[in-house]
């Protein structure tokens, strides 16, 4: 069964056949060969129409298949768009929360580190100040003072020694006085003996005088007794002087030994203390050198920590960059949610304006790095609008 378009394609042949039949009916004298061109023309036209129709049909089927594929593709696109929107609206807020969390953790950790480092710097400064006030040179001064005081002590001890010498000299003088006293005691004994002899002579002469010399004999007797007592006293004195001389000799002899021991002890003590002081001075010099080294290390460590604190400034910039990224992600999510609602309600035109979003992001940038990363190719023009990191502008 032919379709209408196929009947239409055969219509030139039908017209040609009809024309030939009409010609035969109108004029029987028309030769049959004259009908041949009409029939050939009709056949040719029908053949051409049939061919064109075949091609059109093939193209039509191809087009239909293409449309079918496009329809399936559109369905896929629609499904994928839904998925992408769903992914964005579900995943990006999670990323945003992670970014915020990282920012908070970074801020908290860096702030805590900064405070610790600052405390370390203060502690080191306090130690340095304490060291400066106590001062290693102060220790050396103290040592010098102690040495001088020890020397004063030795001088005093030596002055005691001189006093002892003086005392011994005085004892020596007393020995000479004792000799004088011994001599004087001898004189007293001699005088007593002579007095006794005189009293004896006087008693003899008194006896010769008889009664007239009786009183004088009594006086002579008294003088004899006195001279005897004087002689006894002189011997006692001599005995005591001998004892004193012996005692002083013993003292002088003993003091001489003690004096030698004291001199030796003082010399040894002085030498020992000099050695101790010298040792302490060496120790003090070493301590000063070590203290200076420690101070230099202390300052180096303090400087390094301060430099670490300076380097930690990156956290402030990172925090602001992350804050802007998080904000832009939220902003884009809001825009997509609005467009999704519109899309679901049948609108196919999205309201999202990427240029406006990028421009808005740019206005929220705070750091040089953000401007630089936004459009690396426009770096030169951006540089004209921003100051360099670390720059100081006075107004």
């Amino acid at each position: 069964m032919l379709r209408s378009d196929q009947w239409l394609a055969l219509s030139p042949l039908g017209v040609a056949v009809l024309s030939a039949v009409l010609l035969i009916m109108v004029s029987a004298s028309v030769p049959y060969w004259a009908l041949l061109p009409v029939l050939m023309l009709g056949s040719g036209l029908s053949w051409l129409a049939w061919r064109c129709l075949g091609r059109l049909q093939a193209q039509y089927q191809e087009l239909q298949a293409h449309l079918e594929r496009e329809h399936v593709y559109a369905e896929h696109c629609h499904t994928n768009l839904d998925r992408l929107l769903s992914v964005w609206l579900q995943v990006v807020p999670v990323w945003g929360r992670h970014v915020d969390s990282c920012r908070d953790m970074g801020n908290e950790a860096i702030n805590a580190l900064s405070i610790r480092f600052a405390e370390l710097v203060q502690l080191i400064a306090a130690t340095r100040a304490s060291s400066d006030s106590a001062g290693d040179s102060g220790h050396l001064d103290t040592l010098t003072t102690d040495k001088a005081r020890l020397q004063q002590l030795f001088d005093k001890m030596k002055s005691f020694d001189a006093t002892t010498d003086l005392l011994f000299d005085r004892i020596g003088q007393l020995e000479s006085f004792a000799a004088d006293l011994d001599q004087m005691a001898g004189s007293v004994a001699s005088i007593a003996e002579q007095t006794n002899m005189l009293a004896l002579n006087a008693a003899i002469e008194a006896a010769r005088a008889g009664d007239a010399g009786r009183g004088f004999a009594v006086v002579a007797q008294e003088v004899r007794e006195l001279s005897t007592q004087s002689g006894e006293t002189g011997r006692h004195i001599a005995g005591k002087i001998a004892m004193v001389k012996e005692a002083m000799h013993a003292i002088t002899s003993s003091a001489g030994d003690t004096r030698e021991q004291e001199d030796q002890t003082l010399d040894e003590g002085e030498q020992f203390i000099n050695e101790v002081v010298q040792h302490l001075e060496e120790r003090a010099d070493k301590l000063i050198a070590e203290g200076e080294q420690l101070l230099a290390t202390n300052m180096e460590v303090s400087g390094q920590i301060e430099q670490v604190l300076v380097e930690l400034q990156f956290q402030d910039r990172v925090s602001q960059i992350l804050e802007q990224v998080s904000g832009s992600m939220s902003q884009l999510t809001d825009m997509l949610e609005a467009d999704e609602s519109r899309y679901r309600s049948g609108e196919r035109e999205l309201s999202m304006n990427i240029e406006a979003l990028l421009q808005d992001m740019k206005t929220r940038y705070t750091t040089v790095e953000q401007h630089r990363q936004h459009a690396p190719t426009q770096q030169n023009s951006d540089n004209e609008e921003t100051a360099d990191a670390g720059s100081i502008s006075f107004f």
């Binding site: 900064s114 301060e306 400034q313 750091t367 921003t386 670390g390 107004f395």
Partner: protein, 121 residues
């Protein structure tokens, strides 16, 4: 020296860096974590200079400087803005608010001390 400088920044690490540098140079330092906190700490005592961040919670640095300049006691106190903000427009805002200098982070303490020495009253 015994001069007092107020440091206003929401970043504790920045406050520490600035405070250590200033204390090392002999200045007395008062720290505040944002503009509102800074205004609360202005008790009428002499402040010789203010160093303030721009982007801070509660009250930003530009607003803080405007408020500061409204106070007759601190009207002539010099202000240095210490910020990551590098845009010329923002710098113009700071200048209009009354700031005397604009330092872009990250900074080196010696540069900051030079700026402080030039501006401190």
């Amino acid at each position: 020296m015994d001069k007092t400088i107020m440091v206003v920044d929401d970043s504790a690490s920045i406050r520490q860096v600035v405070a250590i540098a200033l204390k090392g140079a002999g200045y007395k330092v008062i720290e505040a974590c944002d503009g509102r906190d800074a205004l609360a700490k202005l008790t009428g005592d002499k402040i010789h200079l203010v160093i303030s961040d721009v982007n801070m919670p509660n009250m930003d640095g530009i607003t803080f400087v405007k408020e500061l300049k409204q106070n007759p006691r601190y009207k002539f106190t010099p202000v240095i803005m210490l910020t990551t903000e590098a845009g010329k427009d923002k710098m113009a805002e700071g200048k209009a608010a009354g700031a005397k200098a604009w330092v872009v982070k990250p900074f080196q303490p010696p540069q900051m001390l030079d700026a402080v020495a030039k501006l401190i009253m």
